[in-house]
């Protein structure tokens, strides 16, 4: 990938530029925040039950909250890869032709099966979708889900991916700086919430990240 800074980073000048250390720290903070959101419900549920066993239904509601919060975060992460409405067949075919020229045979085949493009970078292995990307960190144990898109709703789906792919290739760290982090956690938590057709792409990214 090129070392040139992505011009869009000027629009988020207050954000520190992403690098591997900063990313690892963000991942840890994300996990701690999720735990901090969850633990109070677990404690409150336990204390209530200890004080008054008849409060078990209330405790169950609290436990449901403790379960739902991480689930909702993971769902938000998986949503970055959600497919957008199709354009007409002609433009879609043309756009797929261009995207196919930009990637290798394996990535082309994976895109045909899953709608996602796998791209190896310095920060890890990326899965690029139409309105976001998932970065599987080296080792394959943590995924970062990024919301990032091109501001043109008329574009065919493959062109939306090509926009993100070219920006990513121009400046990977800048790309991650511009994008909004939607989730960080174990890839399996994202995988469960992906449409089944997309799961092989995440599996491939995790495998490539090892």
């Amino acid at each position: 990938m090129s070392a040139e800074a992505l011009p869009e980073t000027a629009g988020v000048y207050w954000r520190p530029r992403v690098d591997a250390d900063r990313l690892a720290r963000r991942g840890r903070v994300w996990t701690l925040t999720t735990v901090a959101h969850t633990i109070p419900y677990l404690i409150a549920s336990g204390v209530l039950f200890w004080l008054e066993p008849l409060s078990a239904p209330v405790g169950a509601i609290l436990l449901a909250h403790a379960w739902a919060i991480p689930e909702l975060y993971a769902k938000r992460g998986a949503n970055v890869l959600r497919r957008r409405p199709r354009a007409a067949d002609g433009p879609e075919r043309t756009a797929i032709g261009l995207l196919g020229d930009l990637v290798g045979h394996d990535a082309r085949a994976l895109h045909a099966r899953t709608g996602l493009v796998l791209e190896r970078g310095a920060l890890g292995v990326w899965l690029v979708g139409e309105g976001g990307a998932v970065l599987v960190a080296p080792g394959g144990r943590r995924a970062f889900c990024w919301c990032v898109h091109v501001e043109d709703r008329s574009l065919p789906s493959a062109d939306r991916i090509a926009h993100l792919l070219l920006a990513l290739r121009t400046d990977e760290a800048g790309f991650a700086t511009v994008a909004n982090l939607a989730f960080s956690g174990a890839p399996r938590r994202v995988r469960r919430r992906l449409p089944p057709a997309m799961r092989p792409a995440l599996d491939a990214a995790v495998a490539a990240g090892h």
Binding site: M1, S2, E4, L6, P7, E8, G11, V12, A87, G90, P91, E92, R93, T94, A95, G97, L98, D101, L102, V103, G104, E119, R120, G121, W146, C147, V148, H149, V150, E151, D152, S154, L155, P156, A158, D159, A162, H163, L164, L166, A167, R169, T170, D171, F175, V178, A179, N180
Partner: protein, 74 residues
Amino acid sequence: MARLIRMDGSGHTTLAEWTAADEQAVEAAVSAFRAQLDAGYYAVVTEGEGHARQVDELPMDAELVILRRPIAGG
């Protein structure tokens, strides 16, 4: 022959084609390139799989120059 293409609602549109030897074609390509940059597009030259470079001047030696819209988070 080198090409300048813009990703748009049609998939992509070829705005100019040129060879270094054809001065008129080069001039037309440079003119189209500048107009698109003024319209807010960014120009990218692919440099093999996994590599791309943003350019502010039309590189005469590039085979393919792609114009893209800005991206944003969210």
